[in-house]
């Protein structure tokens, strides 16, 4: 068994330990992680500087890669927010007695092991780890080579918090940043329940095309706003402008405005 697959298997084997943790404890772990992240931000920022220094000057990816005190604070607050969300697992959806006396119950349970493949943004490491822990899932993370040092520092921090709470470190695993980890993940269907690619369209397409593990695709949005002939022009202008201009770089931003011919002479000049 390859080294990478062995790491994935260890994560799978650590899931019972995670399922045994009470909800209160999960919340506490996340709050502790947020506090530790702020307390030890120097270590993370130092590691991040090493990654940033390796970037070519002027590379647009550098900004996404770079961490600073403010971004760390945002990540920590994001983790605190997740800790306050209700745990989605162990919810009873249905309970009934069958005619033969069998008591049937349907409840939500963690997926098990979540795999994530993502590009340069180092906040994703913390975001996914926090969401998975909150819901009782173990996770295997494959970050980019550009963020290698930052991710290594991040996982050390996460592991130290897990150990302080007597949980096996393997419930959050960082796979080697090398490309080989990706193909191992694609074939780890025995141990990984879902695979989530986060990043560019090419990354998502690559994962969807090659993975044997079910993929949850979060992707491109080509969004339309249709201004129908009976539209209120004032509303239409406000909506179309907001949909396009408020944040053009995101997937829910408008790409095409469709206008009825009857209203076009009136709407378009606005």
């Amino acid at each position: 068994m390859s080294e990478v697959l062995n790491l994935i298997k260890k994560t799978y084997n650590a899931t019972p330990a995670l399922r045994a943790v009470e909800d209160r404890q999960l919340k506490k772990i996340l709050l502790m992680l947020a506090d530790e992240l702020e307390a030890q931000q120097k270590t993370i920022l130092k590691a991040n500087e090493k990654d940033v220094a390796k970037q070519k000057p002027g590379d647009p990816k550098t900004d996404r890669l770079r961490l600073d005190e403010k971004r760390i604070k945002n990540i920590a607050n994001g983790i605190r927010k997740v800790s306050r969300l209700p745990n989605p697992s162990e919810k009873i959806i249905e309970r009934k007695k069958l005619p033969n006396g069998l008591l049937l119950e349907k409840r939500t349970v963690p997926l098990g092991v979540v795999g994530a493949i993502f590009e340069s943004r180092p906040n994703v490491t913390f975001d996914i780890a926090a969401l998975c822990l909150r819901s009782g899932n173990a996770c295997v993370l494959k970050g980019s080579i550009e963020a290698e040092q930052t991710n290594l520092a991040a996982i050390q921090l996460i592991h130290s918090v897990l150990k302080k709470n007597k949980l096996p470190a393997e419930v959050v695993t960082l796979l080697p940043a090398a490309r080989e980890s990706v193909s191992e993940l694609f074939n780890a269907g025995k141990y990984v329940d879902v695979l989530i690619p986060r990043g560019s369209e090419s990354l998502i397409n690559f994962v969807r095309k090659n993975s044997q593990v079910p993929v949850i695709e979060t992707g491109a949005g080509v969004c339309h706003v249709y201004v129908e002939q009976k539209a209120d022009i004032g509303k239409a202008v406000k909506i179309v402008t907001n949909a396009k201009v408020s944040r053009p770089s995101v997937c829910n931003a408008m790409d095409t405005v469709i206008v009825d011919k009857a209203i076009a002479p009136e709407f378009l000049p606005e």
Binding site: K81, P88, L103, G219, H224, I239, D255, T256, V257, V259
Partner: protein
Amino acid sequence: MKGYPKLKKASAEDFGREFLDLKCAVKVVKGIDEALTHIREHSTKHSEAIVTEDKKSAELFLKEVDAAAVYHNASTRFTDGEEFGLGAEIGISTQKLHARGPFALEKLVTEKWILRGNGQVR
């Protein structure tokens, strides 16, 4: 197009393109049927909106358009886990199995049937 130096005639590739920039395509149609056909052809099934005061057209649009989120008289920018009250999200799912739309904490679970008996056999 006089007086609008940045305005260019759209090419076929401009429809169905995600610009991620301060650019957009404009399509003029004869009516709702042509609009629905255009969306069916070019949508990535993420978020789609209609602006109208006509209830019938609005309901037709909301029913006919196949997307994770459909809007009447509101901006598509609301398709977001935080905005929907789900908390932090992993992303917006444009597929139909397991999670659709904002993929947040609530969808990091599956289901399990638990059966408690006292010797039942089938």
